[in-house]
């Protein structure tokens, strides 16, 4: 059952598949050539965020346009299942991007290094935070309204980011003092991401349960 719902989300975005598949292969390489040494993490992170968001957004757009969720909710599919399918879709997108990046890194005639556990964990954590916020907001306010919210959030980022970074820099002392090896920290990030994902999922399920379709 869940498989079909996830598949449906991918089918809704099917006209972007080719573009995004190429993007997943080319973007990391492109960003990496601009950044050169040490650019592996940002190139993977930025391209994954870009691709996952575009896929997620085009599926949501189609969902909003055709309002098929109302029909699905009238079948034995529960609202909970529909929400879970959305999260699975995002997780599949992460995994696909990771695979494609690894593939690129292995076959591209470039100095593109494979991601280590620490970087992978960090990327998953940040992506999870982003989507962990985006998905419940979309369920709460609907596609149209949440687009404005996201737009506003992106708009204020340049103003807020510096202070956030500063805050992080100030606290980074304690961060590196954690008596854990980098790979262990990577695993910790993944664990944290899972917790955030689960919390976000529970919120989304609650929010969607009482929405009028």
């Amino acid at each position: 059952m869940l498989y079909h719902l996830v598949k449906k989300d991918f089918l809704l975005a099917k006209r972007y598949w080719i573009v995004l598949l190429i993007a997943a292969l080319v973007l990391p390489v492109f960003i990496h050539t601009k950044l050169m040494a040490g650019g592996e993490f940002p190139s993977f992170f930025i391209s994954t965020l870009f691709i996952a968001y575009l896929m997620f957004n085009s599926a949501s757009m189609a969902e909003d346009k055709f309002r098929g969720a109302a029909y699905l909710c009238a079948t034995p599919y529960t609202r909970k299942k529909l929400v879970i399918a959305k999260y699975v879709m995002v997780a599949v997108l992460f995994a696909a991007c990771y695979l494609l990046y690894t593939l690129t890194a292995l076959i591209a005639p470039l100095e593109l290094r494979l991601l280590n556990l620490y970087e992978s964990g960090l990327a998953v954590l940040i992506l999870q935070i982003a989507f962990g916020v985006i998905i419940p907001i979309q369920y709460r306010f609907g596609y149209e309204k949440s687009r404005y919210i996201f737009f506003f959030m992106i708009f204020i980022t340049p103003f807020v980011m510096p202070s956030v970074i500063k805050l992080l820099q100030n606290s980074s002392m304690d961060w590196s003092n954690i008596p854990l090896s980098q790979p262990m920290q990577g695993l910790l990030f993944v664990l944290l991401a899972a917790v955030i994902g689960a919390a976000s999922l529970l919120i989304s399920i609650r929010v969607y349960a009482s929405r009028d379709l």
Partner: protein, 282 residues
């Protein structure tokens, strides 16, 4: 014949519209027409039945069991056709079917194939390319391929040409022939004249009547005659009355009383639409 679905005091406030204490029941093996003008509360009631919007109060029972605690079983045993379909137009008929079919535990793919062949539907085409009539047939094919006990349809005939509407009515008659039940809303009552067994009229969020179609037609009469037949007492027998210099015509809910009290009048059989409008106009 037992009740298959019972709705008790269903209430929902939606903006300025209120669905007010709606109660009715559907009889097994029957086609029940849910009639009313646009905005009367038909779609709201159906959405409440399907749990697409949350009710403020009330209870819905399916085969005697509250659907609140048996939602999955209820949805598994009903077929649904929503106004306009609510389909993902970008998917092909086959892709959409695969999503829907997976949700029903007793989906019968051979039955679906038979229906598809019968309606001449192109499985590999995008849903968005279907004509209005084909879209409806596709919706029905999806709704009747899992041996549902009850088919719930919201405005299935709106926007369809008369020939397709006729075909649809035949499909419904065939469906109930197997002992299944149908609940369909419509503001086009001429379709229901032919096929409905029961009629429920809703207006302004309230149920006006819920009655067997034939009894309704037996009781009501379209009366025409000379104005001198009208007096205070006889006027009270009419739901609507239209007086001109040449005579009067009016609709009564008590044909027998008119026959007793007014001797020289013509009584014709009204249509469902005449009856519906006479209650709404009041």
């Amino acid at each position: 014949m037992k009740p298959i679905l019972e709705v008790n005091e269903l209430t929902k406030q939606l903006g300025s519209f209120k669905l007010d204490n709606v109660s009715f029941s559907l009889t097994e093996g029957c086609i029940t027409g849910f009639i009313g003008v646009n905005g009367a509360g038909k779609t709201t009631t159906i959405k409440l039945l399907l749990g697409l919007i949350q009710k403020d109060a009330g209870e819905i029972k399916f085969f005697g069991k509250s659907i609140q605690n048996n939602e999955h079983e209820f949805k598994n045993r009903i077929g649904i056709v929503l106004d306009d379909g609510y389909f993902y137009d970008d998917l092909t008929l086959l892709e959409m079917k695969n999503v829907i079919a997976a949700s029903y535990s007793n989906w019968d793919n051979r039955l679906f194939k038979r229906n598809i062949d019968r309606f001449g539907l192109p499985l590999n085409q995008r849903i968005g390319t279907l004509s209005k009539g084909m879209r409806m047939k596709y919706a029905i094919a999806l709704a009747i391929s899992h041996h549902a006990d009850l088919l719930i349809m919201d405005e299935p005939t709106s926007g369809l040409d008369p020939q397709v509407r006729l075909e649809l009515m035949d499909i419904l008659l065939e469906y109930v022939g197997e002992g299944k039940s149908v609940f369909l809303s419509s503001h086009i009552t001429s379709d229901l004249d032919k096929v409905a067994d029961m009629l429920i009229l809703i207006h302004g969020g309230r149920i006006i009547f819920s009655e067997e179609k034939d009894l309704l037609l037996d009781k009501h009469g379209l009366v025409k005659g000379d104005n001198k037949e009208l007096n205070e007492q006889s006027k009270a027998l009419f739901l609507t009355l239209d007086e001109t210099d040449y005579g009067f015509s009016g609709l009564t809910a008590d044909k027998a009383a008119v026959r007793r009290q007014m001797k020289n009048v013509y009584i014709e059989r009204p249509s469902i639409e005449d009856i519906m409008l006479s209650y709404i106009k009041r």
